[in-house]
Amino acid sequence: MDQVIRLRSAVALVGRFPVLAGVDLDVFGTEIVLLQGANGAGKTSILRACAGLLRVVAGEACVLGVELTEDPRAVRRRVGLLGHATALYDDLTVADNVTFAVRAAGGERSSVRPALDRLGLTGRLPATRVASLSAGQRRRVSLAALVARDPELWLLDEPHAGLDAEHRDLLDGLVRDAVVRGRTVVLASHEHHRAHALAGRIVTVAGGATPPDPAPPGPLPVPGAGAVAAGAVAPGVASEVTSVA
């Protein structure tokens, strides 16, 4: 199985504040991983670091085979990040926005219309200015851009927020389809029931790090690994501890 994300003791700063203070994370191909943790634990920062938006200043970070510590830009076209902000231009129409996002990422104009249809953005909506949409509709527009781009790695930050029940089901369907097509999905969500049903694996984030899980469902830890807290391993030992989560 290909390793899609590999973080080892990853540290990232915003100003002088370490939003990530030693994160270990392994994600392999075609799985759905849920990051869970309290507000401010560092879930969004992990997603942004994996998207190449937040510079990893120490530790190892490799996403889709790209070393983020060397060139975080190289990975950007291959990942899709659905963040808190929808990154839409208020003055452009729905169709214009999705077309720009797709074309800017090197995609084809022809993929726009099916994606809009898939998200139920039909009728008068494609020609409507984004400024006049509701929060949930904006969310669907940026989801449509993500679907149209269909990147290799989907990073979803609170994807359910602002969506009604019907579109939450639709979103879950989109995510499952993506994984069937061979995509990898990492999401952060507070919608516990929905997210737990969706995710194949759960990683707990706290204090900008990934503390060792009491009962790791993943590969068995090396004996005694519990004594070596996340990020504590010396470089030489790192290869033995395959996964903390």
């Binding site: 003791s9 990853a10 540290v11 700063l13 915003v14 100003g15 002088r16 504040f17 370490p18 939003v19 203070a21 030693g22 401010g40 634990a41 200043v57 120490a58 530790g59 510590t69 060397e70 060139d71 975080p72 830009r73 190289a74 706290a206 204090g207 900008g208 790090a209 503390p211 060792p212 899980d213 009491p214 519990g226 004594a227 070596v228 807290a229 996340a230 990020g231 504590a232 391993v233 010396a234 470089p235």
Partner: protein
């Protein structure tokens, strides 16, 4: 070498800067004595000619400061020589350069008022100096905006270069412009009236003393800047520990050793923390270069 042998904690001086400072102060005293007492007043300009011991030297120091800033900015942007030391040097010399530039313009203005009757004239050199002052005041404002240190340093270095590349354009523009309007400017700095022996000596001394003063100020400013960034860097280890302690007491799987070591340490620090961005400097090596991560993907200007 123990740090205290060279430096008291919190002081920006070292033995070298103290010697330099003593020399500078002595030089200034001699300059004042020569300039105000020994050298004679000018037949034409009277006592105001004594400004020649301040004005040309401070103008030279202003240009020196801006020049050092540009060179240091290039050195920062050049990947092989990238180090925060250059960024600090650029900031310090630009700041001192701006101070000398203000002295230049004020002293020139006073001089102009007495010798040509106006505070300001659109002489090309005056205009160019004023433009440079405005440009570098903007540069200093940009430096103070804070944020990520690497980002700020890159932004500042690119700005300094942007400021500097237009200097030839500014120079040509102002000289053509004035050349069109007034063929005979009232006065040119440097084309001073007959220089008396003492006047010449005093003026030469003013250049030497001002250069010492420039170096002294830049060294102190550099020391302050590196202490500031050291203060921020030393907070890094503490900040990581504090950030990780937000996860609360160690979970059940962790051993007593990590749990008992207090809330500040939820496991040892990432081992790479000191190897790249945040180099712990020995207290005695404030001016030591600080390696930065190479960014191969960035547009190398």
């Amino acid at each position: 070498m123990t740090p205290s042998s060279r430096q008291r904690p919190g002081a920006t001086s070292s033995r070298a800067t103290r010697i330099l400072g003593a020399l500078t102060l002595a030089g200034l005293a001699v300059l004042a004595f020569l300039g105000l007492y020994v050298s004679p007043p000018d037949g034409l300009q009277g006592e105001t000619v004594r400004l020649i011991y301040v004005h040309p030297a401070s103008a030279t120091m202003a240009y020196l400061g801006f020049g050092v800033c540009a060179v240091a900015s290039i050195a920062f942007l050049w990947p092989r020589t990238r180090s925060y030391r250059w960024d600090r040097l650029a900031g310090a010399s630009a700041e001192v350069g701006v101070a000398f530039c203000v002295v230049t313009i004020v002293s020139g203005s006073i001089w102009g008022r007495y010798s040509w009757g106006v505070w300001w004239t659109w002489d090309p050199r005056l205009t160019l100096t004023a433009l440079l002052l405005a440009v570098f005041v903007g540069y200093l404002a940009l430096r103070r905006t804070g944020g990520d240190p690497l980002g700020r340093a890159k932004r500042s270095a690119i700005t300094a270069l942007c400021c500097f590349v237009v200097v030839p354009v500014d120079h040509e523009a102002t000289s053509w412009w004035v050349g069109l309007h007034q063929n005979d400017t009232l006065f040119r700095i440097g084309k001073s009236p007959l220089i008396h022996g003492w006047q010449l000596a005093t003026m030469l001394l003013s250049f030497v003393v001002f250069t010492l003063l420039f170096a002294w100020m830049v060294l102190h400013r550099l020391a302050i800047e590196s202490m500031e960034s050291r203060l921020e860097d030393e907070g890094y280890v503490w900040a990581i520990a504090e950030r990780r302690s937000e996860s609360g007491p160690a979970p059940a799987g962790a051993t007593a050793s990590s749990a008992s070591s207090g809330p500040l340490v939820a496991g040892p620090l990432p081992p790479v923390a000191t190897s790249q961005r945040m180099v712990q400097e020995a207290p005695g090596s404030l001016l030591a270069p600080r390696p930065l991560p190479r960014e191969r993907g960035e547009a190398g200007l």
